[in-house]
């Protein structure tokens, strides 16, 4: 390949990276800017007078943002939302992936539900979520699940299980049946085959699915907004609380966005190794 060709490829890749990363960089930038710079024109990427007050205010809401007296947030400290999110999203993810895995195995290997049932599970994703909100609100009131962690866990599990099922079905379909049959002929029971053969072989797929579902749960806003008020609010809802008499508090919002992204980045990084083994699964010779 010529030097120019190679250079243009690199430039192309760089341009795509910029488009993807620009919003992230922008949020990071705002999170360190004092109020007067949030909407300043022309904008700067590097804050002129960098400040950490946007972060401090997340935990100590009484502090005026950037020292500006009018900028006092009425939001609760972020701690409660952070704890709620850290409980709700992982549990809902684990439940969803677990149920999805077993359901996918049943669908893939035993054709449970024929072709209709697996498809039907997708209907939960076919309506705009808000269409479910009102009827569910009635149920949740009766069940006393409003503004509880359990309420959101159940809801998130139910709404992501279709994704888990379909993603896991793809990975399980990719495991050659012969491998399971070989284990059966070696004398293994169906459960043993499932846990010692199939499950380890789709480990990468399980990790990929878990990461995907975790991101969905972590960033979900609508249901969290409708079904919680104080006790069980999650980070996306908390972000919406940084509004004052003088307008939106872009700085604290950006700061919380950055804080909220840390667990996902860490989880993604930890799971990355498994993702790679998951996607080199094509190595299996069929």
């Amino acid at each position: 390949m010529t030097l120019i060709g190679q250079a243009s490829r690199w430039l192309g890749a760089l341009a795509i990276c910029l488009v993807i990363l620009l919003p992230v960089v922008w949020v990071l930038s705002i999170s360190f800017k004092p109020p007067q710079e949030w909407l300043a024109y022309p904008p700067t990427i590097i804050p002129v007078e960098p400040t950490t007050s946007n972060y401090i205010v997340l935990f100590q809401p009484g502090n005026p943002v950037g020292g500006v007296a009018a900028m006092v947030s009425s939001a609760e400290p972020v701690t409660q939302a952070l704890i709620n999110s850290l409980i709700i999203a992982p549990i809902a993810t684990a439940a969803s992936v677990l149920i999805g895995f077993f359901a996918a195995y049943a669908v893939s290997r035993y054709r449970v539900g024929g072709t209709f049932m697996p498809f039907f599970t997708l209907t939960t994703r076919m309506f705009p979520p808000v269409a479910f909100a009102v009827p569910l609100l009635v149920y949740y009131r009766m069940l006393g699940l409003i503004d509880t962690q359990l309420g959101l866990i159940l809801m998130y599990t139910a709404f992501t299980v279709a994704f888990s099922l379909w993603m896991m079905k793809g990975f399980i379909d990719g495991v050659p049946r012969h491998i399971e049959e070989a284990a059966v002929l070696d004398g293994a029971s169906p459960w043993r085959v499932l846990f010692t053969i199939t499950l380890p072989l789709v480990r990468g797929g399980l990790a990929a699915t878990a990461l995907f579902v975790f991101i969905l749960n972590w960033t979900e806003f609508l249901f969290a907004l409708v079904f919680t008020s104080r006790e069980a609010i999650t980070i996306p809802v908390q972000v919406s609380h940084y509004v004052g008499a003088v307008g939106r508090f872009y700085g604290p919002q950006a700061a919380l966005g950055i804080v909220a992204s840390i667990p996902v980045v860490v989880a993604g990084y930890l799971i990355q190794r498994h993702l790679v083994t998951g996607f080199t699964f094509g190595l299996v010779r069929e």
Partner: protein
């Protein structure tokens, strides 16, 4: 039940509309090396999977050692199965692959280690024990697949085209290895293949299948010398048997097979022919190695109709040549020794070895006689 170690009775398997195996009757003897031979899709793998319990027969019974095993789950049949693609547990090491069957059976740890060690030594896998199965080369995979199956000492060993992925040289070596192994273990083996050469070199007996049905069950020698149908005649032997369409005709008290100008005197066989032939159309079969140059036939004192052909192609092999001849517009192949002088467009006079011709009914495709004349 009878003496058969494995007995299949009226075995039938349907997949929806498709009938994969139909009315299969078979007795396999203990310690026998039996090959299932046939083109792909003829039902041989399906039959094997029914014996293993991986497919449930639509009808018919399977007996193992006199016991009906139709309803016995595959886990409890004590049948070893080597899959075409080995079906190794890719996420495990060679050691764990070999140990799996014993671990499932809750064998004591010391016994597992001993058996695995022995198997690894015997299959020359010792250096690979800690290697992940997904990193092995083909030959090692095959040995692991075999070892994993053998380690539980199955009564019956079923192999589904296990040598398919090998290059030819290695294939030949592995054939010998497998055959030796089977004799050594004295186990009963059923070996599925679509390669007639493989079946001919390995099998004590061969079951030839076509379209889900048994065509012929015989020793390799019988299949070669006495094919019971056109299908077997065409399937066994390379290059395949030459088949010429002929017409049977009586002339006074003599009888002839005619093809154009050519005629073969079959007076002595006329009872056999008239007993077996439905119409007058028949197919005359002669193997390429039984098409003799006229000089050689004379030297060996074999007399029959001399056929003249025009050489179309000569393919030299190491000690032999395959010569394509046109007799009128019918192409036949002959195998001659490599010192036989022949070149393209030569006119060659040949004789069909009179004791080695075969005749088939054109309609029913059944054999009428095999090499009697």
């Amino acid at each position: 039940m009878g003496e058969g170690f494995i007995i299949l009775k009226g075995l039938r398997k349907e997949f929806g509309e498709l009938v994969a195996v139909e009315d299969l009757e078979l007795e396999v003897e203990e310690g026998e090396f039996l090959c299932f031979l046939g083109p792909s899709g003829c039902g041989k793998t399906t039959t094997l999977r029914m014996v293993a319990g991986l497919e449930i027969p639509t009808a018919g019974d399977i007996f193992l050692r006199g016991e009906r095993i139709n309803d016995l789950p595959p886990q409890r049949r004590n049948v070893g199965f080597v899959f075409q693609n080995y079906a190794l547990f890719w996420h495990m090491t060679v050691h764990d692959n070999l140990a799996f069957g014993l671990m499932v059976r809750r064998a004591p740890r010391s016994e597992i280690e001993r058996e695995v060690g022995e198997m690894a030594r015997w299959l020359e896998l010792e250096d690979l024990l800690e290697t992940k199965a997904s990193r092995l080369d083909l030959s090692a995979m095959q040995r692991v697949a075999l070892g994993r199956t053998l380690v539980t000492r199955p009564q019956v060993l079923l192999l589904d085209e296990p040598l398919n992925n090998f290059r030819p040289a290695l294939r030949e070596i592995m054939r010998g290895e497998l055959k030796r192994l089977q004799k050594q273990l004295g186990s009963t083996m059923i070996y599925v293949t679509h390669d007639q050469e493989e079946a001919m070199t390995m099998g004590d007996r061969i079951l030839v299948m076509s379209a889900g049905r048994k065509v012929q069950l015989a020793t390799p020698r019988e299949l070669y010398r006495q094919p019971n149908s056109l299908f077997v005649a065409g399937f066994i032997g390379r290059p395949p048997m030459n088949l010429l369409e002929v017409t049977y005709a009586r002339e006074g008290d003599r009888a002839f097979l005619r093809k154009g100008e050519l005629a073969w005197d079959v007076t002595l066989l006329r009872h056999a022919i008239e007993g077996g032939l439905r119409g007058e159309k028949a197919v005359l079969g002669v193997r390429p190695e039984h098409v003799l140059p006229v000089e050689e036939a004379e030297r060996r004192g074999l007399k029959d109709t001399v056929v003249t052909g025009k050489v179309d192609l000569v393919q030299p092999l190491a000690r032999k040549k395959i010569v394509d001849l046109f007799i009128d517009d019918t192409l036949i192949k002959m195998v001659v020794s490599s010192d036989f002088p022949v070149a393209k467009d030569d006119q060659v006079e040949v004789v069909f070895h009179p004791q080695e011709t075969h005749l088939f009914d054109k309609e029913t495709e059944r054999a009428i006689y095999n090499g009697l004349s």
